[in-house]
Amino acid sequence: MSATLSLPVCSLLDCAVEDERHFEMHDYEGPVARWCPGCGDHGVLTAVTKLLSAEQLRPETTVFVSGIGCSSRLPHYVKTYGFHGIHGRALPLATGVKLSRPDLTVFVAMGDGDCTSIGAAHWLHATRYNVDMTALMLDNNIYGLTKMQTSPTTPQGFASNTQPRGSYLPALNPIAATLGITNASFVAQTAEWVPQHLYATLQAAYRHRGFSFVRILQRCPQYTTSIFQQAVRKPDLVELLVHEQGVQLPELDKLYKRQRRHDPKDLDAARRLAEPDDVIRLGVFFKDETRPRYDEMRRLPRHTAEEKVRLLNEEMERYAI
């Protein structure tokens, strides 16, 4: 790739810029990731990097925003712009970025504690704002970085350092919860141990215009391997939701025999399928691009400083004496 491309300031105006560069996966690769060996985050990073290259996203106009936790280190390992924020607050930061710069492509990486606990209010409202961004919730069912505390998605009975006699309450269901939020426009679930599915889901999420919420089930080799071990070993415990409007991967047919055709337009069906069951369902639960997008509604033409001074002088007349 060439570093000599001249980009006019008008990229701020969201005008199309001719770009002759071609980006390979390595063009997006940052420093070597420092997650534990076997951590599901590695697989997500690979899928993300592959997606960036497949979609030829310009590194300088792509921003990864994250909160705090293992998964929130992801921006450091991608050679784009990144904002590694504070615990639970990736979504407000990302909303600010997108509201002010519609020309930027925004990804959000957060963990289950980040998204469904300390930042739960933002999760609810970001879903409703439906600002165009791809939000990845890397759900290992535990607080990893702070060393094994119960998270809202920890299965009931699972012992941790804070609830050593087992988690007291049934786990929160992020898919059902998100589907319950007014103006949700894209809700999907995938798992890092099915890389093709992970990649296809990320791609569908990225291509969706609006707020795409993807829950990525992932193993924590330190603390929660056992939670997903069964599902990893026994594909029969997984049911794929397939549809041409969602994710459909014939190459998985042999391994994943349990498949259900689900039209992502059908919200009622999506809500039924999100309820707890004896299977883990992967796929696009819901998708609706007709939902209003806050970032589109709030987009306004820019004015020059001189125009603003003229307008402000007019406004000042109201107060003149």
Partner: protein
């Protein structure tokens, strides 16, 4: 001493020769139950006075509830307008003339000590003959209560008069009262009609005409029945002026500064900034984002600013507390951010609608960890406008958080000031996204100043991840000793650099020194200046100094302080009184600025502070100055 009650109540219109009192300033208030329009009356009176060239300072009188019970002493709603020949810089002392729509709200104001001993009261008297015996009894009891005062109470049949013009007097009394005031203060009726037109013409011509008829009726009643008038001569400045409150000024200042996004969550008394902006911001391409909470408001503003749009957030004490972690992030990632804190009484929910200056130390030191940033405070309503321009420039030049500490006094006070001469340069340059050579670091800290250029997303070649973790110049997570010490020094150094760019504050009074230096900050300037002027007129050796920069502090303070025998801050926050039980020189909790000044100058700075839920009165400060010079006895 007091004349008997019957002498003071003009029950019958016994016309006497009219005496006109010529005064340099006078304070008038209009109080009613909420919803009776006393505020509108007061606002128009203030605007007309300003337009005639008088100095004016208006404050709202607001009950805590939207619709408290009718005829309730705690439910008084209205406006208090101080009119002067020269510029009026503060709300003054006590009210000299009050128009009250019922005796209970009058009682409320009386009990608060709002009225001067010899105040004139124009009181609606329909309650004296109300059908409800309980109301008649309440009237009698209230007047008996007030009989012990030296107020001059003039009964006015407002209801009866208004019913000659409208069917529902409740909807017109305020314009009748405006007419009365226009008579008393010799206000230009044509200007009053212009203001009525601005307020009511959009409703209908008929509504406008009725209000004008009420205005004229009030004026005529005054002419026929009152035996006094007040003349506060006007001295028009000749230069173009605007009149507004501090929140309006801050909102317009934000636009003038080229700000493009504000993220906020409703909180009194800050919210009206966003109300004004919501009306106009979109026509400038600006967005008011009402976030889901205070924390998200800070996050959205930081995200927007990180991406290159100048953004600010506005809040009050409880919101400031919630935003704390994000403010640390702005400092750590060196993301410019302007935060306007319109202070109210605290702690906790405190006094949402009332003034205090209790956020100073929290504003400077409230972020856990070392988070050096800039804190400034406007001293006047005019400065609420200009400080937003300054704040933006500082935030971007120093890549840090700039907190602006306004307060409820400035937020709701209305005063005229010279119309700002706008400059397109205030709007800042468009973001520079020209490509950078690979390897450019996002924090190329200048070794001396700690300053560095911003690299905005969208800049080819500049890709990096900012982080709230300790980091190197390349924004890589760092744990090595040298980086930790150095990066902290670089963030801190910026404040030293700014401090050296500031000029020492000007001493109001004797720069060469004297017996006492009064030091203030924020909205108290007008009241302090007035108190110092009164004390100096008595021959007291007192001067004052007002700080706009609180972090870093303005330079030269220690040297200035050394020229005065005593230094004392005057603030609207809590401090222990010397001599109170258990309070010693060692454990005394002092005013927040005093705390700061003592720490930074090692001068034994004393303080005089009050938390009364209202702005300081010049007379009270004057008294404190006298007491201080008399060796502490008050």
């Amino acid at each position: 001493m007091h004349p008997p009650l019957e002498d003071r109540v003009l029950a019958a219109p016994a016309r006497r020769p009219v005496q006109t009192h010529r005064l340099p300033s006078h304070t008038v208030e209009v109080v009613s139950d909420p919803g009776e329009g006393a505020q509108k009356c007061g606002q128009i009176f203030g605007t007309v006075s300003a337009k005639m060239g008088n100095g004016v300072w208006t404050v709202e009188i607001i009950p805590a509830e939207i619709q408290p019970p009718a005829r309730d002493p705690a439910g008084a709603s209205g406006n208090r307008i101080r009119v002067g020949t020269d510029a009026v810089t503060n709300w003054g002392d006590e009210t000299n003339l009050v128009v009250a729509f019922n005796e209970q709200v009058l009682l409320g104001r009386h009990r608060l000590g709002a009225l001067a001993e010899d105040a004139v009261v124009l009181l609606e008297n329909k309650w004296a003959t109300d059908d409800d015996p309980a109301i008649r009894a309440a009237w009698s009891a209230a007047l008996a209560d007030l009989a012990g005062t030296a107020y001059r109470i003039v009964e006015v049949p407002m209801e009866a008069e208004c019913l000659q013009v409208v069917d529902d007097a409740k909807k017109g009394k305020n314009m009748f009262a405006l007419g009365l005031l226009c008579y008393v203060y010799q206000r230009d009726l044509e200007r009053a009609k212009e203001q009525i037109a601005q307020t009511f013409r959009k409703k209908s011509e008929e509504v406008y005409q009725k209000n004008v008829a009420l205005l004229e009726r009030g004026h005529a009643w005054g002419e026929q029945h009152l035996d006094f008038r007040v003349e506060v001569p006007a001295r028009p400045s000749g230069q173009p002026m605007v009149v507004m409150n501090g929140n309006q000024a801050a909102a317009l200042g934000a636009v003038a500064a080229g700000m493009e996004l504000t993220a906020m969550y409703p909180i009194t008394p800050a919210t009206s900034v966003s109300h004004f902006l919501s009306d106009i911001f979109e026509s400038f391409g600006g967005v008011v984002h009402q976030a889901e909470d205070e924390i998200a408001a800070a996050g959205v503003a930081i995200g927007a600013s990180y991406a290159g749009k100048c953004a600010f957030t506005v809040t009050s004490g409880p919101g400031l507390a919630l935003k704390t972690e994000f403010l640390g992030l702005a400092v750590m990632t060196e993301t410019p951010l302007v935060l306007l804190d319109v202070q109210r009484g605290g702690p906790s929910t405190g006094l949402p609608t009332k003034v205090e200056q209790s956020d100073l130390l929290a504003a400077i030191f409230g972020q856990p960890g070392d988070a050096p940033h800039i804190v400034v405070a406007p001293a006047t309503i005019e400065e609420c406008f200009h400080i937003m321009v300054t704040a933006r420039r500082l935030a971007e030049a120093f890549r840090t958080l700039v907190m602006v500490l306004s307060d409820a006094n400035l937020a709701t006070g209305v005063a005229p000031f010279p119309r700002p001469q706008l400059d397109p340069a205030w709007m800042g340059a468009p973001p520079d996204l020209s490509p950078l050579p690979e390897g450019v670091r996002p924090y190329e800290w200048d070794a001396k100043t700690g300053l560095s250029r911003r690299v905005l997303p969208g800049t080819p070649g500049g890709m990096h991840t900012v982080t709230g973790l300790m980091h190197t110049e390349a924004s890589k997570i760092a744990y090595d000793k040298a980086t930790l010490q150095r990066s902290s020094a670089m963030r801190s150094r910026k404040l030293a650099v700014l401090q050296q760019m500031l000029t020492p504050p000007v001493v109001n009074g004797d720069a060469a020194g004297g017996d006492l230096l009064v030091v203030g900050w924020g909205s108290t300037k007008g009241a302090i200046d007035e108190a110092v002027a009164r004390a100096r007129a008595e021959g007291l050796s007192v001067s004052s100094l007002h700080l706009r920069f609180l972090s870093p502090l303005e330079p030269g303070l220690k040297q200035i302080f050394s020229r005065f025998r005593q230094v004392m801050t005057v603030e609207i926050n809590y401090s222990d009184e010397p001599g109170d039980p258990y309070v010693t020189e060692e454990n005394r909790r002092r005013g927040q600025l005093a705390w700061l000044l003592r720490a930074s100058t090692l001068v034994d700075v004393d303080c005089w502070t009050r938390v009364l839920g209202e702005p300081l009165r010049p007379a009270a400060i004057h008294q404190a100055i006298r007491a201080k010079l008399n060796g502490g006895a008050q």
